[in-house]
């Protein structure tokens, strides 16, 4: 599991990390009982203060998505996937809602908005069938606005 932080995003780094974990769990890339990378590993690879990582893990522990096992790290709880899917549905609905509102505000008709969403879905299917790679990365799903250069850099 890899994480990447966009320092220019208005979302705080610890929220970005928490989101990436929620999406990875929702997508089943990390299952119940599986261990998350350690605070140090994530701090080093995502190049952020370890305290920021701890904060994200703690937040996920508070909502019951993760549990700490003494001395061995953080694990996804049995309820984790359900919680993560609820979160994902809410987050995606919110983002789509914003995009739809923007389109309608800009004067597009409802049919046109539906058409655009269908096109976007088809484009995604095409891209996915061309290169099945990249779906491993938890960050991909959480960056629907398009990756920034620094994201790519941070991973390299």
């Amino acid at each position: 599991m890899r994480f990447s932080i966009d320092p220019r995003s208005p979302v705080t780094p610890s929220e970005q990390l928490a989101d990436q974990v929620r999406f990875a769990v929702a997508a089943g890339r990390v299952g119940p009982g599986e261990r998350l990378p350690s605070v140090r590993e994530v701090a080093r690879t995502a190049r952020i203060n370890p305290n920021t990582v701890s904060r994200a893990w703690r937040e996920l522990e508070l909502v019951g998505l993760l549990e700490a096992r003494r001395g061995s790290g953080m694990f996804v709880t049995p309820e984790g996937p359900g919680l993560a899917r609820t979160f994902r549905a809410r987050a995606v609905a919110e983002r789509l809602g914003r995009a739809a509102a923007e389109a309608l505000d800009a004067g597009l008709g409802e049919d046109e908005v539906h058409e655009l969403v269908r096109d976007a879905c088809r484009a995604w299917e095409q891209a996915a069938s061309l290169g099945a790679a990249g779906s491993e990365n938890g960050a991909d799903e959480t960056a629907p606005e398009g990756e920034t250069e620094s994201d790519v850099e941070a991973r390299g």
Partner: protein
């Protein structure tokens, strides 16, 4: 090794799921600290606490007293007899008074100044030998590991090092001490993005050990945001505001953190 003064600071994965709060004294405590190099005071009553396990960034205008404060904390010049001493207030570093326990404080603190005063002919290797001779915590393998990570040649003379390379060289030596407290004076100033990133890597790696703290002075908002847990704003010899980076970001409302910092500084001045 990474032993600190406090009890039981180490464990396999210390920071998982909530921080282990240790009973060790804070990294730095300043209360009403007054100090001046001559007759004119520079610090007019500084109140500040740097906790164990946090990165605190000290920001503020030039001449606000940031570097002076850092020098008091690292138990350097101010405590030479010919300089004046802190005239009022209390300062404790890792639970010790730097005025009377300077030697012990210095042995646990890594200090990187914003400039180096090493002779031009000196090779990086000579600098390491010098530190090895005087510092009880110095770890040679660690120093070379950092030189490699920073792309520095141990045989290079200081004269041939760029500003950024000198900063990285000093940081490599400081990190090789695995100090419980790391003090950095403008570690990002004038560095290119690659060097800035390496400095940030050094700070992050340092913080991956339990109970380590960093006090850094910086004007680089983006770097402060990336590395720091809390920010202390200093103005006219006082700390006028201390806030977490998250709180500052919230205050900025998704805008520029720099605006939030300026606002915090202005509020502090008004109060």
């Amino acid at each position: 090794m990474t032993r600190t003064d406090g009890p039981v600071m180490e464990s396999a994965e210390p920071q998982e799921g909530g921080r282990v709060m240790s009973a060790a004294p804070p990294a730095v405590v300043a209360e009403g600290l007054v100090f001046g190099w001559g007759r004119k005071p520079v610090l007019h009553g500084v109140d500040l606490e740097v906790r164990r396990g946090e990165v605190l960034a000290l920001v503020g205008a030039n001449g606000a007293g940031k570097s002076t404060f850092l020098q008091l904390v690292c138990a350097a010049e101010p405590y030479r007899r010919r300089f004046s001493r802190a005239t009022k207030g209390r300062l404790e570093v890792l639970g010790l008074d730097p005025q009377t326990k300077g030697q012990r404080v210095r042995s646990q603190v890594g200090f990187v100044a914003d400039h180096t005063e090493l002779p031009e002919w000196m090779r990086v290797r000579d600098h390491l030998a010098l530190v090895r001779a005087v510092h009880p915590r110095y770890d040679d393998a660690e120093a070379h590991r950092w030189l490699d990570a920073f792309g520095l040649d141990a045989d290079a003379k200081h004269a041939t090092l760029s500003k950024g390379q000198r900063m990285l060289e000093s940081l490599a030596v400081a990190l090789a001490l695995r100090p419980p407290l790391l003090l950095l004076d403008e570690p990002f100033a004038g560095l290119d993005p690659v060097a800035r990133r390496l400095v940030a890597d050094g700070i992050i790696e340092h913080m991956c050990e339990e109970g380590r703290s960093v006090l850094l002075v910086s004007h680089s908002t983006a770097d402060v945001e990336r590395c720091a847990d809390r920010v202390a704003v200093m103005a006219a010899g006082r700390v006028t505001a201390v806030e977490t980076v998250e709180a500052l970001r919230e205050r900025a409302g998704g805008g520029d953190l720099e605006d939030a910092l300026v606002a915090a500084a202005a509020e502090g001045r008004a109060a």
